[in-house]
C-alpha cells in the first residue's frame, strides 16, 4: 500500500519556540490514523501546517505527488484534503445550508454538489431539519456534525479531524466516532487528532504519540492500547 500522505522531518516555529521538532509520519489510503498527545504537544499545529494555515519552517508534506508546503492554502482543498478544525469554527452568522455550500466552494458542478448534499443530509438528518437555521444557534454536537458535513461537501479523499469529541456529551461523542467510522468505510482516509486517546485508538488502524513536538511512539492502535506507558500517560489506567 502506498502512502497517500507522507510528512517528512516537519518543523514549525512560533517565534523562537519550536512547536514541531522534525516529525515524520505517513497515512495510507483508506486508513484511520490517530495522532494522540497531551495539550500543547503540537497536534493542532500539525494539522494547521498540513492545511497551510501555518507555514512549515522545514520539511516536506507529500500528498498525491505534490509538496503541500509549496502550495497556497486555498488550493489544498481542491486536491482532496479537507479539515474539520478544532472548536468546529462553523460560520455562526450563516445558515446551516450556507455553511454546507461554503464547504463546496471549490467545486463547480451544481448537480454533483447537490448529490453530495443529499448524501450529507442522509448521514446527518438533523442538519437537514435545521438547514435554514443560523449555525450559531446549534448545539455543540450539532455544530460538530455541521463542521464534518461542511468538510465532506468538498468530496475529500482525506479528512483531517481536530478534537472532534471536545466539549461534547458522552452520547454525542459515541455518535461522532460512529460517523467517523462510517465515513472511513465509504472510502475517505482519516487523520484523527484526539485527546480522548482511548476512543481514538479504539477506531484507528495505527497511531502516533506526540510529546512536546516530537513523535515518541508509533504502532498499530491495538498495540498502543495495551502499551503500559501509554496506558499510564493517556488512558488513565
Amino acid at each position: 500500500m502506498s502512502a497517500l500522505l507522507e510528512v517528512k522531518d516537519l518543523s514549525v516555529y512560533y517565534g523562537v519556540i519550536q512547536a514541531l521538532k522534525g516529525i515524520s509520519f505517513h497515512v495510507d489510503k483508506g486508513e484511520v490514523v490517530a495522532l494522540i498527545g497531551a495539550n500543547g504537544a503540537g497536534k493542532t499545529t500539525t494539522l494547521h501546517t498540513l492545511s497551510g494555515l501555518i507555514d512549515a519552517d522545514k520539511g516536506d508534506i507529500l500528498y498525491k505527488g505534490e509538496n503541500l508546503t509549496k502550495i497556497p492554502n486555498h488550493k489544498i482543498v481542491s486536491l482532496g484534503m479537507a479539515q474539520v478544525p478544532e472548536g468546529r469554527r462553523v460560520f455562526a452568522e450563516m445558515t446551516v445550508l450556507q455553511n454546507l455550500k461554503m464547504g463546496a466552494y471549490t467545486r463547480k458542478d451544481k448537480a454533483e454538489i447537490n448529490e453530495t448534499l443529499e448524501m450529507i443530509y442522509k448521514r446527518f438528518p438533523r442538519l437537514e431539519e435545521r438547514k435554514t437555521q443560523l449555525a450559531g444557534t446549534l448545539s455543540g454536537g450539532e455544530q460538530q456534525m455541521l463542521a464534518m458535513g461542511r468538510a465532506l461537501m468538498s468530496h475529500p479523499d482525506i479528512i483531517l479531524m481536530d478534537e472532534p469529541s471536545m466539549g461534547l456529551s458522552p452520547i454525542f461523542v459515541n455518535e461522532i466516532f460512529k460517523i467517523i467510522q462510517d465515513v472511513n468505510k465509504d472510502g475517505v482516509t482519516v487523520l484523527l487528532v484526539e485527546q480522548n486517546a482511548k476512543k481514538a485508538l479504539s477506531i484507528a488502524n495505527r497511531a502516533y504519540v506526540l510529546e512536546t513536538g516530537s513523535i515518541v511512539k508509533e504502532g498499530p492502535a491495538s498495540e498502543l492500547l495495551n502499551d503500559e506507558s501509554i496506558k499510564k500517560a493517556y488512558l488513565g489506567e
Binding site: G52, N73, Q83, P85, E93, T106
Partner: protein
C-alpha cells in the same frame, strides 16, 4: 413647513453621501477587520481625477467619473497590497491603523504638491435642474434626487451581491473566520483585495456626488466627510451594511437640521456628540452584532 421639508431633504441628500462613504468603511472593517482611515482621502483623489479629466475633455463628466472609479479602485488595491497586507497578522492591530493614518497624510500632501493649496471650484457632474413642487414653494435639486437614488441603488446591489453570489458568500466567510474560510478553499487575500476594490470604487462615486453638492475642492475635501462617515458606520453598527446606510442618513439629517435650527458652529459638535453617546449607550451601534462568546 415647506422649508422644514427642504432641510430634511437636503439632510437626506448629505446623509446619502455619508452612507455611500460609510458603506466602504464598514465593508473593509467587516471583512479585513481594519479601519482604513485613508478612505476619506480616496474621495478627494476621486474628485481631483474628475476635476482634471472633465477639465481636459471640456466638461465631459461621465468619462471623468468612469476614470475616477477605475483609478480609485486601483488606488485601493495598491494601498492594500503595499501598505496594509504586509501588516496583516502584525502583533498589534495599531500597526495597520497608524499606517492608514500615514496613507491619509501621504495622499493629502501628494494632492497639495500636484494641485496646490488653493480651492478649486468643482463643476457639478449632474446637470439636471431638479423638480419643483407646491407651485414653486418646494424645489428639489437634481443633484439631491440623484444622490439619494444612487445610494439606494448601491445599497441594494451590495446586498444582492453579498447574499446571492459565490464571491459575496466568501466575503461573509472571511469576515467571520479567515482561517476557516481558507479551509474551505477561499483565497482570503483575493477576497480582501476585492473588498478594497469595491470600497474604493464607492469612494469615487461618493466623491463625484459630494463635490457636485458642495463644489469646493481642496486636498482636505475628503478628510471631514471621511471622519463623519466613520461616525455613521459606528452609529449604524460597524460591519453592518444596512447599518452604514441608516447611520449615514441619521447623521446627515442631524447635521443639516442642527445647522439650521440650533447653530451652524455647533453642528459638528453635535454630530460627534452622537458618537460619544452611541459608544456609551450601545457600543455595537443600531444594527451591530453582539460580540459573541466562543462556545
Amino acid at each position: 413647513m415647506s422649508s422644514f421639508l427642504t432641510y430634511l431633504i437636503s439632510g437626506l441628500s448629505l446623509g446619502s453621501i455619508y452612507a455611500i462613504i460609510a458603506l466602504g468603511y464598514t465593508m473593509v472593517y467587516g471583512i479585513a477587520k481594519m479601519l482604513n482611515f485613508a478612505h476619506g482621502d480616496f474621495i478627494m483623489v476621486g474628485c481631483y481625477i474628475i476635476f482634471t479629466v472633465s477639465g481636459a475633455l471640456s466638461g465631459n463628466s461621465i468619462v471623468g467619473i468612469l476614470v475616477a472609479i477605475v483609478l480609485c479602485t486601483l488606488l485601493g488595491i495598491t494601498t492594500e497590497f503595499v501598505a496594509y497586507r504586509p501588516l496583516r497578522g502584525a502583533a498589534s492591530p495599531l500597526a495597520v491603523l497608524i499606517t492608514a493614518i500615514g496613507v491619509s497624510y501621504f495622499l493629502e500632501n501628494l494632492a497639495l504638491l500636484i494641485f496646490g493649496a488653493d480651492i478649486k471650484s468643482f463643476t457639478s457632474v449632474i446637470k439636471w435642474e431638479g423638480l419643483t413642487f407646491a407651485g414653486g414653494d418646494l424645489r428639489i435639486q437634481g443633484v439631491t434626487i440623484v444622490t439619494i437614488a444612487i445610494s439606494v441603488i448601491v445599497l441594494i446591489v451590495l446586498q444582492l451581491f453579498i447574499k446571492k453570489t459565490r464571491q459575496g458568500q466568501a466575503m461573509l466567510a472571511v469576515a467571520e473566520d479567515k482561517g476557516a474560510a481558507a479551509l474551505m478553499g477561499i483565497n482570503v487575500n483575493k477576497t480582501i483585495m476585492l473588498t478594497f476594490a469595491i470600497g474604493s470604487a464607492l469612494a469615487a462615486i461618493a466623491g463625484a456626488l459630494l463635490c457636485s453638492a458642495y463644489p469646493s475642492l481642496s486636498p482636505y475635501t475628503g478628510a471631514m466627510p471621511g471622519i463623519k462617515a466613520f461616525v455613521a458606520a459606528v452609529l449604524g453598527g460597524i460591519g453592518s451594511i444596512p447599518g452604514a446606510m441608516i447611520g449615514g442618513l441619521v447623521l446627515g439629517i442631524v447635521e443639516i437640521l442642527s445647522k439650521t435650527y440650533i447653530s451652524s458652529q455647533l453642528s459638528d459638535a453635535i454630530v460627534f456628540g452622537i458618537l460619544v453617546v452611541v459608544l456609551l449607550v450601545k457600543p455595537t451601534g443600531i444594527l451591530g452584532k453582539k460580540i459573541q462568546e466562543k462556545v
